[in-house]
């Protein structure tokens, strides 16, 4: 059973700075924007609830699938993309709110790790439901804006890619402002630090919790639609499988308590991943883009657990 001698792996092109560095950096940054968007939701829930939400990827999937169902019709008249997308994001918000009500609230006083296991269970449940409804084969969702913004040599920047980066920047800025400038935002932070005390001073803890989860669902939903429109195949659990781990790494790397950190982390993780995949041949390290993520996460946690922009862990 000796395997056949493997033929040489890659006849690599000569080292060209543009193809080895510039192109991967730009396309990686665009890929990373989606990680950043998912990461925003993760940071939000960490800031407010001190938990890691493993269902964030599935909030995103639900939105993408619902959008697909809207555009594809499914027996009903087909919807314009915008309405389908709004429907998709709303579905994600509803699922997030249901998760909050049925899973998170009953476990309010349980240890955080229990809650984390419960969110993972929620993710599995949602994946199974998506499988029941849409089948395992996967569907293809159209991009929000079709067409290319730029193609030059190896580099291709789609309009969708530019849109994702803009949306990420805007949402990161908005959520950051929300936390620093609005009463509700500060209330959320207060609840996360002192739940008992805040309820004593009259802040409605339960409503605040529902609000944060709803927001997380919204952010996840936007991420899901933008990710699925990237040209890949949307199957049950696609976002959990392909984007959740990079998103977590992005959130931790950027600083798990920092919303701009999620933006920065997402973009950087995307760049590191694509650089790794482009420059490390498969015969040297299989699936290099997963391996680099592991090392980024490990080093972050060992050297600077607060992340790039975070102030506390």
């Amino acid at each position: 059973m000796t395997p056949l001698a493997l033929a040489p792996d890659t006849t690599y092109l000569a080292f060209e700075f543009s193809s080895r560095i510039t192109t991967p950096v730009i396309s990686g940054a665009i890929n990373g924007a989606v990680y950043g968007l998912l990461g925003l939701g993760l940071v939000l829930l960490y800031k407010s609830n001190r938990i890691f939400n493993f269902a964030q990827g599935e909030f995103a999937s639900v939105a993408a699938f619902t959008t697909y169902a809207g555009t594809a019709g499914f027996g009903l008249p087909k919807m314009p993309y915008v309405f389908a997308a709004i429907l998709g994001v709303s579905a994600a918000v509803v699922v997030a709110l249901l998760t909050e009500r049925l899973v998170v609230q009953p476990l309010f006083n349980q240890p955080k790790v229990t809650l984390v296991v419960a969110t993972a269970g929620t993710a599995l449940l949602l994946i199974a439901l998506e499988g029941f409804v849409f089948g395992a084969e996967g569907v293809g969702l159209d991009p929000v804006i079709a067409g290319d913004a730029l193609t030059s040599g190896g580099l291709r920047v789609t309009n969708q890619g530019v849109f994702v980066v803009v949306v990420l920047a805007v949402l990161a800025a908005l959520t950051a402002l929300f936390f620093s400038r609005t009463k509700t935002g500060t209330a959320i932070l207060a609840v996360s630090m002192e739940p008992t005390a805040t309820s004593l001073v009259g802040i409605p803890v339960k409503r605040i919790s529902a609000l944060t989860w709803g927001l997380a669902g919204l952010l996840g939903g936007v991420a899901g639609i933008l990710f699925a429109g990237n040209g890949g195949l949307l199957g049950p659990g696609a976002l959990t499988a392909f984007a959740l781990i990079p998103a977590f790494t992005a959130a931790v790397f950027g600083g798990i308590t920092s919303l701009p950190g999620a933006f920065l982390g997402g973009v950087l993780i995307g760049i590191i991943q694509t650089l790794g995949a482009r420059n490390i041949p498969e015969s040297v390290v299989p699936d290099a883009n997963q391996v680099v993520i592991f090392f980024v996460l490990l080093l972050t946690l060992l050297i600077r657990p607060a992340g790039l922009l975070g102030k506390e862990t």
Binding site: M1, P3, T10, N31, E137, G231, A277
Partner: protein, 502 residues
Amino acid sequence: MQTRRTRGLVVALLASALVTSACGLKPEVKDQLAQGGALGAGAVSQAGGEAGVDSGTGADVQAGTDAGAADAGTADAGTTDAGATGAGTTDAAAGSSTGGSSGGSTGGSAGGSTGGSTGSSTGGSTGGTTGGAKGAPAAEQQVGPNSKIGVDDKKKTLKIFLHGPLTGAGVPQDSFISGTPKYWKGKKVKGFTVEAEAFDDKYQPGPAVKACNSKAKEGFLIIGGAGTDQIQACARSQVLRRGNVPYLSAGVTTNGLTDLGHYFATSLTYADQARLVVAMAKKGGYLAPANGKGWAVVVSKTPNFADAQAAIVSALKGAGQKVTVINTPKTGGDSTAVSNQLREGDFKTVYFLGQPTFFIELVGKAGCPAYCPQWTGVGVSMGTNSIGSLACRGSGNQYKGEFLSPMPGLDKAGALAPGVRFRDDIEFGIYATMQVLEQMLKAVPGDSFTRESFITALEGKTFTGKISGTVNFSKGHFGGTGAHALKMNCGSGQHVTNGFYT
């Protein structure tokens, strides 16, 4: 109150676990114990003259060596042994040489064929252990009694299985279930009703082997539907080898499959199709891209594709083309990086061998109209239309793809299988496979179906299915003779059969 409900659920779950397991146990009928009793060898007395013409290529274990001449048999076996990579041949050689010589002295042609067939099948199955890395003793008593499994001589039924990715492959799966029994509706082979059933391999080798092992206890033979790694892992499984379970599949790789006495490839392996890809490309006008950049060969990195990769690289180099190989992780990996690389190299023709889901992603990311290469490759044996449609979708209907397949496209269904309605090309492909299988079953002498008699009936023979073409086992267990070219038509969402290459 809520607590009580959960308690109910958990208790119900547990109770059902207990009850079902108990139910599963009581009728021990399921555990098909020895039915045949007699050692298969006795029943296998097929005339040796037809059974084996040695190939000399040494690619495979040759079964019955020509029974007439004892020393010829030995010599043939010797060459097979020397040429083969695997270990199983040692045993087969011993089997056929003793069989051959005793046959020669006692004058029975049956002696030669029995010796050859049992030698190759049992030897082939244990060979991996005996001659290979390990030194475990061979005990082959079970092979004989097992050989009637799946055959019910009283009810006159024959149970066969096909495994495919019902889940997890990124292609529609229901068609495997509906397509498998389709051919056999209202048909009988030698008075036997064929009960064909599909089961799920989850598009992963582990679950595939697990399921194959369990189905080998009920089924007469197993057909590998799709997925190289799954087919290879199942065919090589210890249970199938020991049980001598006939295993048929489209040709994929020779890696680890050449020394199996019970495995038959009904079409060309991916490596063998390499020269056909070149021929197809030449005819299609994309063999020599005008920009002189040559081909990109994108192959997912698994030892099972190593032979295919080496073959296409050397075939293209032989045709004077530059080749850039890009290996990707098995599960796909970073489609952005790969599509960047393709655009950078400005490769106008890309050979792809890997997971369909990754392919669809790659076509989407490559980015028509700015970069819109010709995609080509081999052996996406089932579900081509759905993959092609998704590729069309991702490229704004500008996807150009032409792949080789063991079956003609669904566009030929009306002509080749008149009056049968097929949901998709998966159903059609399975139908074509079953058509060849019917010929094979008919080749078994008499109506005594045993695993051994079936295997012997295949060896050295040629079968022609009306749809898929000829399978020729005269040179070994890899019987493929050609492949159909399928060209995607984004307008109709179907592949169009575009010639047959041999």
